[in-house]
């Protein structure tokens, strides 16, 4: 049989433990990082605008746009044929992408309707092995949909930028 004092001490301990538990729960909810609901949508918009702006730009020293040149070379399957263009369309695009996406990890690919890829570029240049993006795909930022280069032949372009580097692309002055 416990004395009255012992019962009071146990009661006090229970109250203290309850208060500590409540404080821990409140702090856990308050401190934990809340997900940014708009961030994925915003990054998708940014990526798609990079891709659209890129293909709308004029091809170096020509009146054609990059989109026109990609369409032409993809239809003729000569995007990386040095006998037709020197430097090749793929090499030219590599230089443009490097100039635009400085120090960023990216993957640019052009495919036709049958799934054949005509251009495969990453931050290291031409992706000869076709291994895809070098960064963790789970954390990647990708265009929400592929952009049509030519809807008739179903030639599409897509751009993937590592999300870790995308915030730098848009938020750091002087980086771009």
């Amino acid at each position: 049989m416990m004395k009255k004092g012992q019962i009071e001490i146990i009661g006090l301990m229970m109250i203290v433990l309850l208060i500590i538990f409540v404080i821990v729960v409140v702090l856990w909810f308050a401190i934990r990082e809340k997900p940014h609901l708009l961030e994925p949508q915003r990054e998708n918009i940014k990526t798609i605008s990079i891709l659209n702006t890129l293909i709308a730009a004029s091809y170096p020293n020509e009146d054609l746009s990059i989109q026109d040149r990609i369409e032409e070379c993809a239809k003729n399957s000569n995007c990386n044929d040095p006998g037709v263009y020197n430097p090749t369309v793929e090499e030219t695009l590599d230089g443009i992408l490097k100039a635009i996406l400085r120090d960023k990890d990216y993957y640019f690919i052009v495919k036709d309707g049958s799934g054949v890829s005509h251009i495969r570029l990453d931050e290291n240049g031409v992706d000869l092995a076709g291994t895809g993006p070098n960064c963790d795909i789970e954390n990647n930022l990708r265009t929400p949909e592929d952009v049509y280069i030519d809807p008739i032949t179903n030639i599409k372009a897509s751009l993937t930028i590592c999300s870790q580097t995308t915030s730098r692309v848009f938020n750091t002055i002087g980086k771009w």
Binding site: L38, R42, K46, N52, T53, A57, A99, F170, W176
Partner: protein, 182 residues
């Protein structure tokens, strides 16, 4: 001490502890709620600026289509914007944001820091390299917003935008930059 005195002191201690716990609780509640209000404010501000960013490209005075800015219109726009009769109107449209657009590709090299204005447009070929407009400049100021005296921090938002040169009918890759003063 008598038993009654001890019980009285015990009650006072309990009251003091309860008051301390209440004060801590109220402090935590207000500090976290003010933090969440700040976060909500930033989120709303972000939404506001994101909307502004998309709508600014569509201003008829400078646009040439979806996600496209006409550089020739931009050159003329600076005169229209700065006219006394238009200052208030464009102040409302651009909400005192500092809006500019830089040419990222084709690269402008040493001219990257030179503003593209009517002076650059009319300038003679560069001394050594012979560049003329648009190769002799690297950025356009769309609206030179100035912060109020009580706005001390700024956030920079950037997005890709196509720059159209009607005289050569070519497009460049540009970066629209909006500085938001808070």
């Amino acid at each position: 001490m008598k038993k009654a005195q001890i019980q009285f002191m015990e009650m006072i201690f309990v009251l003091v502890i309860v008051v301390i716990i209440l004060v801590i609780g109220v402090f935590l509640y207000f500090s976290f709620s003010s933090k969440s209000v700040e976060e909500a404010g930033e989120e709303l501000s972000d939404i506001d600026v994101t909307i502004a960013m998309n709508s600014l490209i569509g201003v008829p005075e400078i646009t040439c289509g979806a996600n496209c800015i006409d550089t020739l219109k931009l050159l003329v726009f600076s005169n229209v914007r700065d006219a006394d009769i238009n200052k208030e109107y464009y102040g409302d449209v651009f909400r005192n944001l500092n809006v500019s657009v830089s040419v990222l590709w084709p690269p402008r090299g040493s001219f990257r820091g030179v503003e593209c204005d009517l002076a650059a447009f009319n300038a003679a070929p560069a001394a050594v390299t012979g560049e003329i407009y648009p190769e002799n400049c690297g950025f356009y100021v769309i609206y030179p917003g100035k912060p109020d005296t009580n706005q001390h921090s700024k956030e920079i938002l950037e997005n890709a935008v196509s720059l159209y040169y009607p005289l050569t009918r070519k497009h460049a890759f540009g970066i629209l930059r909006i500085e938001v003063f808070k």
